[in-house]
Symmetry: C4
Subunit: 201 residues, 4 copies
């Protein structure tokens, strides 16, 4: 029961985050293409962030499905993850309003990185609570996809300083890596096909 | 259980969309009729969008009620539908602030069309997962109402270029078609009365 | 199950309405009492609206608790109620920003009246679906409290034209009538003590 | 069942509060450090408030877990708590926009204090409904942590008048007191280890 309320609360927060992000797309004051133009980059960054939050919801969903009990540490690790996710609307709005500028791109990548770290910690705590040798530990294996994402977010942050466009491409690539269930990539990443980090359900 | 969380998450997102749309109705700075005037068209577009989101919630509700299991494809098709629905507040606000202008009317119709396509894809995926010959496939039949809506949204988008008022009438007509359970129209649309696309519950 | 999803969706919408109302209290640009002053009437109207939405949630809660099944009519009557409730943030913000002016006071009362009418229709539909002679019909009795509220909202709207302050007092009085479970008033209003319109749980 | 709906509604409201607080962090108009600067104090006050709302959700969670039934008094005491929590976004935004100024600091502390009082009342009502000698009463014991918090909030309000920085330190200290489960402090505070006010789950 306790786990259900954690799930329901997380769902609520993630549902609100994914929806209020759209409020960063301000209704234009004119009614022609010229007026719509500044909304376009905000819309594009909205699409990317929507996909990212969708991926987090999806993964969070699987993580908690396998998890059985909740303790204080898991509760706070979960809130820690929600904290970084809650900053998505802000960085999405900024990256969209000042497209391809250094600082917004750095910040966008940093929030992605910090959310990934928070997810990693949450996964670790659930793993510890369930024992390393459990079916749970197996199914999350060495989580190469998660670790690779963190490296790529770092690369994106670094790339922002000389080319925010390349940083944007990296952020898009990571999202696609999670979104597209490419069997060949998965086969290359994992020693064992059954060690699939986040099974597609 | 997995399906329940998908349902709960969708309910959350739809509940937020339907509610934050009202934030596009900005509190007037004056306190007389003159000050209230610009809010009126936003209010009217809010009513229409509220009905549309209500119809989607209603239909989504029935679709998932019959559906039994959720896979990765259904999950993402559902998020895809929520994505287009999440743009309702934006297009509602714009169409309300610049009533009967070409581009806002085109965009409003486009979001309606894209949401309808997303719903169609979701329905298709659930249909495929449950087998074409199942009771589920029957109950969604040939879905003439859904297909007719898409044609009418397209007509509305086209009409926007010469008369946004006619486009608005078309968008209202489609909403009424879903809202009013007119038995004669239904009888004319469907070969078999039992093939009712979205039973009124 | 169907009823549960209606309940959950309504809870979601009401939870969002009651919370986003606070966004009408704009953060002051200064940091002294002078800067805080214009927020005070918005805060006061927020308190009143919070209590009203709380009462609706409470009553809606009881209404659906007794109700057993949901049909299309009940679903739409429920959305109709949520529609008027969703306008609370707007009228609360306006009445708070232009305190004791005619039109905002008229509109505030009108939304209260329309929400009450919507609640009455929903109650009627549930009553009809469950049969007039059922325990349900009994427990909602003649609903004098609900009818009296509608008369008082009407009186408040009328009073707004010559004294918005008196209108405000009427709106406050109706809220208190629902909030304070005064046994003597209840005894005077109902022929039979068991005909209590909305049992305090 | 009734308790579940109270829980779900509270979760919804708390999830919205914790998420819309981030809307007070306005997207900067520039794209350099200078433009980001005014967001920093809002961000810091957001962190503190996020932790506070997290603590409330956590404690509320435990309180209702032990509680068995819900009556009218508990329902309204719960709404009363949600009311004060709903003002967190406002005071967080103000304290963040005018960092270390007297009135915002006083108001921030006052809302903390009023929410604590509301929580205390809710706890009292649940305690009364379950009998003083129950396991429930025991597990909430003399609640020294809760009472100490109220004293410290009062001290913070007082300190605001001569040094808002010290007030901020006090508010942070109280949050840490709840966040960090320091066994030594707990041992010093409670006569009996089993009288732990809010067990860590």
């Amino acid at each position: 029961m306790e786990k259900n309320r954690l799930e329901a609360f997380s769902d609520g927060v993630i549902a609100i985050i994914i929806t209020i992000m759209v409020l960063e797309m301000k209704v234009p004051h004119g009614h022609d293409f010229e007026a719509l133009k500044p909304v376009v980059p905000v819309f594009l960054s909205y699409i990317l962030s929507f996909i990212y939050v969708g991926i987090y919801w999806n993964n969070h969903h699987h993580l908690l499905q396998i998890c059985k009990g909740v303790n204080g540490g898991i509760m706070w690790a979960n809130l820690h993850l929600l904290f970084w996710l809650s900053l998505f609307p802000f960085v999405t709005g900024w990256a969209g309003e000042k497209p391809f500028t250094v600082l917004p791109s750095v910040l966008y990548g940093s929030i992605l990185l910090l959310a990934a770290v928070a997810y990693f910690i949450l996964q670790r705590l659930i793993l510890r609570a369930h024992g390393r040798d459990s079916k749970f530990a197996e199914s999350f294996g060495n989580d190469i996809k998660g670790k690779l994402s963190m490296v790529l977010y770092g690369a994106g942050i670094g790339a922002s300083f000389f080319s925010p466009r390349i940083a944007a491409l990296i952020y898009i690539a990571v999202a696609l890596m999670w979104l597209v269930p490419d069997r060949r990539i998965e086969a290359a990443l994992y020693h064992d096909k059954n060690n699939d980090s986040h099974p597609p359900a």
